[in-house]
């Protein structure tokens, strides 16, 4: 899923300063699962904004709408009947959703209420961690399912740097060293000598470095 963090409340309040009628958007997909921008979080943020505005004596009207997805035209379209009744849209969807709603409704500004952070997994209830960077050229076959691009702070392809100690990364003691994990996995599968394979320089052109990416399936186009 795509994981995000809520922006600091102060930042949100400052963004909203010029507006009094706010459409607060949530999304039922990833940001619901990572508990940052689903219907529940939308309700909480709306309440917080109302409290702050009430305290400051500045009127505010908030409509809470949580779409099934903010990244699909059919759901974005459902905002059409009422989006123009509001001064601004504040979105708790990921960066994709925020942009996509803005693209459809050119006369309305869509503000971000979250910082979109990574593609990750739910490690445990309330804990999400990064697993993939969408580099466009997966190497998980060679590292037996542990991504060095994402999980090594230096994206090293050929082994742990000198800062790997006690299984953790020198950059953050809470983060396991990706190469320790890979080596453990090689051992687990009885193929430690695979570590000796030199991974060649990577083709980053299929990653973000090659510019924004697009995927087309002609057979599905209408």
């Amino acid at each position: 899923m795509i994981v995000a963090d809520r922006k600091p409340f102060q930042e949100i309040i400052e963004m909203l300063a010029p507006y009094s009628r706010i459409l607060l958007l949530g999304c039922n997909e990833c940001v619901t699962v990572c508990a940052v921008g689903g219907a529940k979080e939308v309700a909480v943020l709306a309440s917080e904004i109302r409290l702050r505005r009430a305290k400051e004596g500045i009127p505010v009207e908030i409509k809470e709408v949580t779409l099934e997805r903010n990244c699909d035209p059919e759901y974005v379209e459902t905002l059409q009947p009422f989006i123009n009744d509001f001064d601004v849209a504040l979105s708790m969807a990921c960066g994709c959703g925020i942009q996509f709603v803005g693209e459809r409704y050119r006369n309305r500004i869509v503000l971000p209420a979250v910082n979109t952070t990574f593609y990750g997994v739910t490690e445990q209830h309330g804990v999400w961690a990064e697993r993939c960077q969408g580099c466009g050229n997966c190497v998980l076959d060679r590292t037996l399912g542990i991504c060095p691009v994402t999980r090594c702070a230096k994206s090293l392809f050929n082994g742990p740097c000198g800062g790997s100690q006690g299984g953790v990364c020198e950059v953050n003691k809470e983060t396991p060293c990706a190469w320790q994990l890979i080596v453990d996995r090689y051992k687990e599968m009885g193929v430690l000598d695979r570590y000796l394979e030199i991974q060649p320089v990577k083709d980053w052109s299929v990653s973000r470095d090659g510019g924004p990416r697009k995927r087309i399936r002609e057979d599905l186009k209408i």
Binding site: P8, F9, Q10, K40, A43, V44, S47, E48, I49, R50, L51, R52, A54, K55, E56, G57
Partner: protein, 127 residues
């Protein structure tokens, strides 16, 4: 026991403090509450095992939200006590009332009442 406790406390019964969500606490303040007190069972004695422990974590989170929205974190408090501690409940109710009196009314009410006064004055001036 017929113990007395301040009459300004409105009791909302829930099956377990674990049922109380962040939004419930915030909405109480939006509704004009000056303070909110969660009263859960003793830790370790939850009928649903961890309801009161989860409630405490949510209270901590809601306190942050109240602080950043300008209501103040001290208006939200959680206590743990057993069903047999009626005396203590009455005492907590008194303590809480005192504490909230010290903090003054919910700041959003002060603004609302100022606005109402201004509105009333304007109406008089117009007439």
């Amino acid at each position: 026991m017929r113990l007395e406790y301040p009459s300004n406390i409105k009791i909302v019964k829930v099956p377990c403090t674990g049922r109380v969500d962040i939004i419930h606490m915030l909405e109480a303040f939006e509704g004009g509450a000056d303070g909110v007190c969660l009263v859960g069972c003793l830790e370790g004695d939850c009928h649903f095992l961890t309801g009161n422990i989860r409630a405490r974590k949510r209270v901590e989170y809601a306190k942050q939200l109240l602080e950043e929205s300008g209501i103040g974190k001290d208006r939200l408090v959680m206590y743990n006590l057993s069903a047999a501690e009626g005396q203590r409940f009455a005492q907590i109710a008194r303590e809480m009332t005192e504490k909230i009196r010290g903090l003054g009314p919910n700041p959003i009410k002060a603004v609302i009442s100022r606005q109402q006064t201004a509105e009333t004055k304007r109406l008089y001036a117009d007439s």
